[in-house]
Symmetry: C2
Subunit: 354 residues, 2 copies
DNA sequence: AGCTATTCCGAAACCGCTTTCGGATGCAAG
DNA sequence: CTTGCATCCGAAAGCGGTTTCGGAATAGCT
């Protein structure tokens, strides 16, 4: 039951440790015969190399870390488990390990990263949700440590990333809404230090100018990435004197909150006011009404991220690994042409205001 | 920029490596003075101990692994990211690492576990979603390796676990429904090799006998843990000649699917047929109608699991760590008294059947 | 048979840190 | 001026592998 070490194995075979080691690792200078013999004995005795020792000796960690996003109301990070799964698959191909590390509240996340890199525990890092100008990215670039970003910062130069084009997506969404006849399109956003949030407002504005609609700052409301956030923001916008006829939300969970807000105001989402979300979470099919959204092609993002990171660790040039995917508008029932202002809405607004 | 090793530090200070090491680790036989001096020099030079070397020397892994559930349609495992977060927090208190490992498709999960235990990479394991009689648990028990289970198997003896009492919960739910007047209560379940699925049917049956309702096997439908699964199963049950007036679902995502099925049949959930789910996912607040559910107190389960595992690794007796929490019925709008059979329903049923 | 070229394996150093053990030093007590 | 005890620190032996280097044995050639 005690663990068998290389030494045990060697003694058992009457060979030197070094020989056994090389046999196990398929060195060319070991005869086919002894190589076979060693391997057979190895799994007869149930030998498992001690990974820690191996790591120390080789200097390779054979592991990568996933840096958990900091703002993690589980609700806003349903993608984590999918991503980890994909990452795990990619790493498993080589028998590498996956560590997840969480910035400690006490120390800043940069310090967490520093320690991680210095510890030698992993040979690469993948991180999510970069901010507009992300100090973690700067640090990693400078250090030369292999890494890849899920998303990207404002300045996306000089490192590897995998992202979905939120800017394009929101421009598309505005196009769509405008073609439906909407002129007053509201935007529910997230704090713009998050780069994806910035991207998406940018897209929203792009779409506005492309359709000759002048930008009205009153039509934007920034809030948290939760359902309650979306609810509050929607209420805000809708209670305005000149409310929007459509709401673009920075993600689906906000959009779902917005749907509730609209219904609570006695209006019907998709008819009185259109709502479009972003992400394509499965729940969108079951909301009331089913949510029109910009769906990310995120099925295999984890796997991709993993493969790319591995290539970089192997010496690939990080800048060769920058992939931008496109989101797809999936129309369900929460969007439609604007309704002419009916007494109902006006009455309602007045009531809320007075 | 090159990494500074213990040796460098020692040379720099004119001390022996051993001394420096003991100073860093607060050995009592190092004078306060040199201890201070060493530590100051350490972070002046930016010394970070190489974790791999430390592990090899001490024999402690200072890391635990989370065994990902195998059946992971991201949709059915939204809890993973929360759990990992909690685990991470618990481990961070000691500076330990968290590894996530995924059973490889090629080899069975037992083999994955064997390798993990033998590799010495971690000093403990937490696993989720045990089956009724789980070979992983048997293996771990036999091996004496520290572990804890999120959930439990049929025979919950001799190991540590943290679970929510699904049996009790479903009995409660039946009580509730019965008190509302329901007599034909349907059950949408999951494959019963999953122990939690078994628990919940058991609870369902308990509830039935407690309320003097005779069990009708036609009122049970087993399906996958997805929204489509719930949808299909609900349709099945509802199209029967004597359809149930209420549906108990093994989890919320199925319940959400069931809601859709009911609406698609032209019935109104919560009035024509009641639906109760299990889990308490945030989405339940936004479904149509809002979903009544048995909410798990899962907020800090990860943290708890982690703390318990750590205690076991420290030598605690696993059987001292078995905690059973209770789920809470949160009433929203998807349940209500049964409606007397109206022409509408009868017509509908006939139409579907013919 | 004699010599060089291969093939295969053993010996030993090393990876970076921990920990035991004993020696040196300083100080109080005898 | 010893003897006795703490107190501190240095030396060295691991932890369990990998990898370089060189030597022995075998094979190939003339």
């Amino acid at each position: 039951m005690a663990r068998v070490s290389l030494k045990d194995l060697a003694k058992h075979l009457g060979l030197a440790e070094g020989t056994v080691s090389r046999a196990m690792n398929n060195y060319p200078d070991i005869s086919m015969a002894t190589r076979e013999k060693v391997k057979k004995a190895a799994d007869a005795l149930g030998y498992r190399p001690n990974n820690t020792a191996r790591r120390l000796a080789t200097g390779r960690a054979e592991a990568v870390a996933y840096l958990m996003p900091t703002s993690h109301s589980a609700i806003s990070t349903p993608f984590v488990s999918q991503l980890l799964q994909g990452l795990g698959d990619a790493l498993a191909m080589r028998g590498w390990d996956l560590m997840v590390v969480q910035p400690q509240a006490a120390e800043d996340e940069l310090e967490t990263l520093r320690k991680l890199v210095a510890s030698g525990k992993v040979s690469g890092v993948v991180m999510s949700r970069p901010s507009k100008s992300d100090s973690r990215i700067e640090f990693l670039k400078k250090s030369g440590f292999p890494f890849i970003v899920h998303g990207r910062s404002r300045d996306a130069e000089g490192y590897a990333w995998y992202d979905v084009d939120g800017r394009q997506a929101f421009a598309d969404a505005v196009d769509h809404l405008a073609s439906l006849g909407h002129q007053r399109i509201g935007f529910i956003g997230a704090p713009s230090y998050l780069n994806f949030a910035q991207d998406r407002v940018d897209g929203y504005k792009d779409g506005l100018v492309a359709n000759g609609i002048t930008f009205d700052p009153d039509l934007i409301s920034v809030t948290e990435l939760t359902d309650e956030g979306g609810e509050r923001a929607a209420l805000d916008l809708l209670n305005d004197t000149a409310p929007p006829s459509a709401l673009l939300c920075v993600n689906d969970v906000q959009a779902i909150g917005a749907l509730s807000a609209i219904r609570n105001k006695g209006l019907v989402p998709g008819e009185d006011v259109s709502v479009i979300g972003y992400d394509g979470v499965w729940m969108g099919r079951h909301t009331n009404p089913p949510l029109t959204t910009l769906a990310q092609p995120q099925a295999h993002s984890g796997r991709q991220l993993g493969d790319m990171l591995l290539s970089i660790i192997d010496g690939g040039n990080p800048t060769d690994f920058q992939v931008l995917r496109r989101a797809e508008l999936v129309r369900r029932k929460s969007d439609g042409p604007p309704r002419a202002l009916t007494p109902k809405i006006q009455t309602n607004s007045r009531e809320e205001i007075s």
